[in-house]
């Protein structure tokens, strides 16, 4: 087979696109000059390229399609495209004098699994979220909701699960960025994503056996074409009175050297709710990433480096002293600190840096097999600054340095009907909790070593039926160095069970070295059935195991943002998850739907539960302890898209999950409520690719929640009065409307620019969200107007 200079972008539409597909692209000659009037021909339609060499083939059905591209004096190229989404095809024709080559564009199949649907986030959605976070871009996938701490710290929740249960894989490397914390957002610059997929459930065994909730897989943009292009996105927003600029350059090459570089800068002041300023919610980000690679016909060597650097203000009013303050906040429904708008960020705040260095070597062994090996070093430095006194006010209250080394090798071999993937990985991690903070750290110093081994096979039984199954083994060992207050040690009952791990003593603290070792087996099994009538049926059963994370094991202390003492437990067992999910996909000509029900059983599910009170000199605090139970999550995600006509489009998605604590026979805490989103889009390609879009987002009130309210005594008029602190009742449901519009302009011959104007929360609705940890203190952000300029060159 002869490969030629072909560049293809996939415009990642929802779930691998809908009934009608478009192939678009540009035809150029050997000097990269556009070829006007080239003939692009398929069995359905034919078009000619326009004066700048561009063409568009619309309304193509799913399936394999041969495309012929010809121009007088040039070698005709034909290419076989397997259409399952829109395809961008840039073709360089060569003068007839040169050898006639056959062009083959093989569209990449879903890399993760053949029997489960993975959900791609559109490139447009990634660009729209340029000023926001990774999770904000994922929100458009049904079944993904957001776990927030204020407006800027956002984590994805997949089918009701988040944090350690949803690993983020960026450029093959699993992000190790203290992801156990609910107020620790993924340390990733959304602008650096070329493609993002969401995998619901644990079918991505090559990335780990502990993705109980699902996976977010991010891939950078890679160009296998001799080209140089740049992209700059400049965004300005009204809420936060700031903006972002992200600029990138890509040098592609069919063979030889390739490189790219990207830099992003974000600067925002205080966000504003409809009725007041959310004081101290500004943030800054300065990110860089770059790749240098060299490829020859059968190997590729690449080096990748990325740096994420963020400073994030934490709402002033969310810092509370004791349970009386929490009670007052909940009763008053008004933050206790409202200052004038400012760009300044003071304590409490977070400062995080994340470095990733990756060296990658891919070797093609023969036509059907390849091996890929990488080493990655991640260094994460997280500092959290609290309100402190005197000399300490500029010293971090939490200072963690997490270094992670990963080495991984993956082998892949394809036969006609069988595909085999296998791999091995090792990971060494060192967490250093700096004792110079003067505050006992939530997470101790520890070292961890992991090793894993997996194999996945998929077999095409017949034209309609494909089967996939995988098996993985993981070994993990962790040894921590932790000081326990002697009083805490006794209160936890560790004196009886863990006396042997005490290695020293310092004042009122024990020095201990707890260590744990785990052996886990995980697996997945899937079936895909093509009914041959546009119906497809995916079924997946996955078994995964997640070991307790450092916070679940070792937490012991006060969380100032929630006014609660959180206690880990050294006795926790790993949690085991079994998930069955089924998805039915149908694509008619103008209408397509996907229905995705699932049942998820988790034994030893770890969660925080209130167990009582502790009184300190600061007053009383409710105590929450990590406990385990058997949990069951049952839910359904639904998507549809209706191309009403060539101008109008209707999109609908809904997600519902019911989480139950089976042992206690009560609902699980913090489950996303029913969410429905409807979008109506008007397109007029003739008017500079005009797009006008209105989206309605309805989030219902969560009616299923456990009652974790507690009674405490607060002082009123000198008397102690018992009051109920309502930490359980979810806020009311809400409906928001968002507007988006965009136009494209061809400023220069090779340039393509677009301008977008959008409004989030058009009617400046006041609301609170159940899944925002700051819902006790403030309303959510109000209206936000954004203007975005995109330049491609």
């Amino acid at each position: 087979m002869r490969y030629l200079i072909i560049l293809f972008f996939l415009l990642w539409f929802g779930f691998s696109g809908f009934s009608q597909y478009t192939i678009s692209g540009k035809i150029t000659n050997e000097n990269n000059q556009p070829l006007t009037g080239s003939h692009i021909h398929t069995k359905y339609i034919s078009v000619a390229s326009d004066p700048i060499g561009e063409f568009e083939l619309k309304g193509l059905p799913k399936g394999e399609l041969r495309v012929f591209i010809s121009y007088i004096g040039y070698a005709t190229k034909d290419t076989l495209i397997s259409l399952t989404s829109d395809v961008f095809l840039n073709v360089q024709l060569k003068p007839l004098a040169t050898t006639l080559n056959e062009v083959t564009v093989k569209q990449e199949l879903d890399k993760t699994s053949k029997t489960s649907t993975s959900h791609q986030v559109k490139k447009e959605a990634i660009e729209r979220a340029s000023t926001q976070s990774l999770a904000d871009a994922l929100k458009e996938v049904s079944g993904v909701s957001l776990l927030k701490t204020g407006s800027t710290i956002v984590k994805p929740i997949i089918n009701g699960l988040h944090s350690s249960r949803v690993p983020v894989i960026s450029n093959q490397v699993r992000l190790e960025d203290q992801q156990w914390g609910t107020e620790h957002a993924p340390n990733f610059d959304i602008n650096a994503a070329g493609r993002i997929s969401v995998i619901k459930g644990a079918s991505g065994l090559q990335y780990g056996g502990d993705a109980v909730g699902g996976l977010v897989v991010i891939e950078p943009l890679i160009l296998a074409k001799d080209t140089l292009f740049g992209k700059t996105i400049i965004s300005g927003v009204s809420n936060g009175r700031g903006g972002a600029i992200s600029t990138s350059l890509y040098k592609g090459n069919q063979e030889g050297w390739r490189w790219n570089a990207l830099a992003t800068y974000k600067y925002f002041g205080d966000r504003e709710a409809p009725n007041y300023v959310l004081s101290n919610t500004g943030n800054r980000e300065l990110n860089f990433s770059g790749t240098l690679s060299y490829s020859k016909n059968n190997y590729e060597l690449s080096a990748f480096y990325s740096f994420y650097n963020a400073e994030i203000g934490i709402l002033s009013a969310a810092h509370i002293g004791n349970v009386t303050d929490l009670y007052n906040s909940i009763q008053n429904q008004q933050p206790y600190v409202i200052d004038d708008f400012t760009y300044a960020i003071k304590s409490p705040k977070q400062a995080v840096q994340h470095h990733v260095l990756k060296l990658n070597y891919n070797q093609k062994l023969d036509e059907s097999s390849s091996i890929s090996t990488f080493y990655a070093l991640q260094f994460n430095h997280r500092e959290e600054f609290d309100l402190r006194r005197g000399d300490n006010s500029n010293k971090a209250a939490l200072d963690l340095e997490l270094a992670t080394h990963t080495i991984q090798s993956d082998y892949k071999k394809e036969w006609e009907k069988l595909e085999l993937k296998a791999g091995v990985n090792g990971m060494f991690q060192n967490n250093f909790a700096n004792p110079k903070t003067g505050v006992r750290p939530l997470i101790p110093t520890y070292v961890r070593f992991d090793a894993g081994l997996y194999g996945i096979g998929s077999y095409e039984i017949n034209e309609k039926l494909t089967m996939e199954s995988g098996l993985r083994y993981d070994f993990s060992t962790i040894e921590a160095t932790k000081y326990y207050l002697k009083s805490r040690w006794d209160e936890r009952g560790y004196d009886a069970d863990f006396a042997s791990i005490i290695v020293g003593e310092s004042g009122n603290q024990w020095l201990t070295k707890p260590s744990f070792t785990f052996h886990n087996i995980s697996g997945s099994m899937g079936l895909r059935y093509d009914f041959g009538t546009d119906w497809k049926w995916f079924n997946n059963l996955s078994l995964s195991n997640r070991n307790p994370n450092p916070s679940e094991f070792f937490s012991d202390g006060l969380h100032h943002s929630s006014g609660q003492v959180e206690l880990g437990d050294l006795r926790l067992k790993k949690e085991t998850s079994l998930k069955f999910s089924s998805s039915l996909v149908k694509k008619w000509t103008d209408f397509s739907i996907e229905i995705n029900p699932y049942v998820h059983q988790i034994t030893n599910y770890m969660f925080l539960k209130p167990i009582g009170f502790e009184t300190t000199i600061r007053g009383a605090f409710p105590v929450w302890e990590f406990q385990q139970t058997d949990a069951r999550l049952v839910g359904i995600d639904f998507n549809s898209q209706w191309n009403i006509n060539k101008n109008w489009l209707h999109r609908f998605s809904a997600a519902y999950v019911k989480g139950q604590d089976v042992d206690a026979n009560q609902p699980l805490i913090d489950m996303p409520p029913l969410t429905i989103s409807t979008t109506i889009q008007f397109k007029k390609p003739e008017w500079n690719q005009l797009i006008l879009e209105i989206q309605s987002e309805s989030v219902f009130r969560q009616s299923r929640y456990p009652d974790f309210n507690f009674t405490t005594n607060i002082v009123e008029n000198g008397e102690l009065v018992p009051v109920e602190v309502d930490v359980s009742t979810p806020p009311k449901g809400y409906q928001l409307f968002h507007f988006y519009s965009e136009m494209k302009f061809k400023t220069f011959q090779k340039a393509d620019s677009s301008i977008a104007f959008s409004v989030q929360n058009m009617f400046n609705t006041t609301y609170r969200d159940y899944l925002n940890r700051q819902r006790f203190f403030v309303d959510e952000m109000g209206r936000n107007i954004q203007i975005q300029l995109k330049f491609n060159y």
Binding site: T373, E614, F621
Partner: protein, 184 residues
């Protein structure tokens, strides 16, 4: 394959470099207030009310020590002191509160109408600070509670706050101690 070796060498070297950065020293808690001491002087006596919580956020409740009973119809001049006794010698946090007087206020409340508190010290803007005060006990003997609250970053201009009413003060609580007292 040669590349793989380079990678391995890099791996091992960084690995070794990294594992040296451990520091097993314990954290000295620097700004915890472990102890609040209220001193009441009046009627020829000095009475101290002490709350001491040496395990900070740990599970043990603070230990309360009340040196004696109060007398009716007496004017006590009072002061409060905050210490961190985890450090040696104990750190006096009262000084820091005095320095940052605009950000702090101590509130005193007494139950069952057993007496009245008035502030005698003020911050640079003329609002009460509460490190010094007067307590005038009532004519009737009885038992009740004195509640001492230190608020940080409160709204000193909110209604009633300058009179010692905590209801609208907001802010975050650094100290909240309830002393049971007997007046006879």
């Amino acid at each position: 394959m040669k590349n793989l070796k380079v990678v391995l060498v890099a791996f091992v070297s960084v690995f070794m470099f990294n594992s040296c950065s451990n520091d097993d020293s314990p954290v000295v808690e620097e700004e915890v207030i472990t102890t609040a001491i209220v001193t009441l002087t009046g009627g020829g006596e000095t009475i101290t009310l002490t709350s001491r919580d040496l395990d900070g956020d740990g599970p043990n409740p603070p230990v309360l020590t009340i040196s004696g009973n109060l007398s009716v119809n007496t004017t006590y001049s009072g002061m409060i002191q905050f210490l961190n006794e985890l450090e040696s010698p104990a750190e006096d946090i009262t000084e820091e509160i005095e320095e940052k007087d605009l950000e702090h206020q101590v509130f005193y409340q007494i139950s069952n109408s057993l007496g009245n508190f008035t502030y005698t010290d003020f911050d640079s803007q003329g609002n009460p600070l509460g490190l010094e005060f007067l307590l005038v006990t009532g004519a009737n003997p009885g038992t009740g509670n004195i509640t001492v609250t230190l608020r940080h970053l409160l709204n000193k201009n909110a209604a009633g706050v300058s009179d010692g009413n905590i209801a609208n003060a907001g802010g975050s609580t650094d100290i909240e101690v309830v002393f049971p007292v007997v007046i006879n």
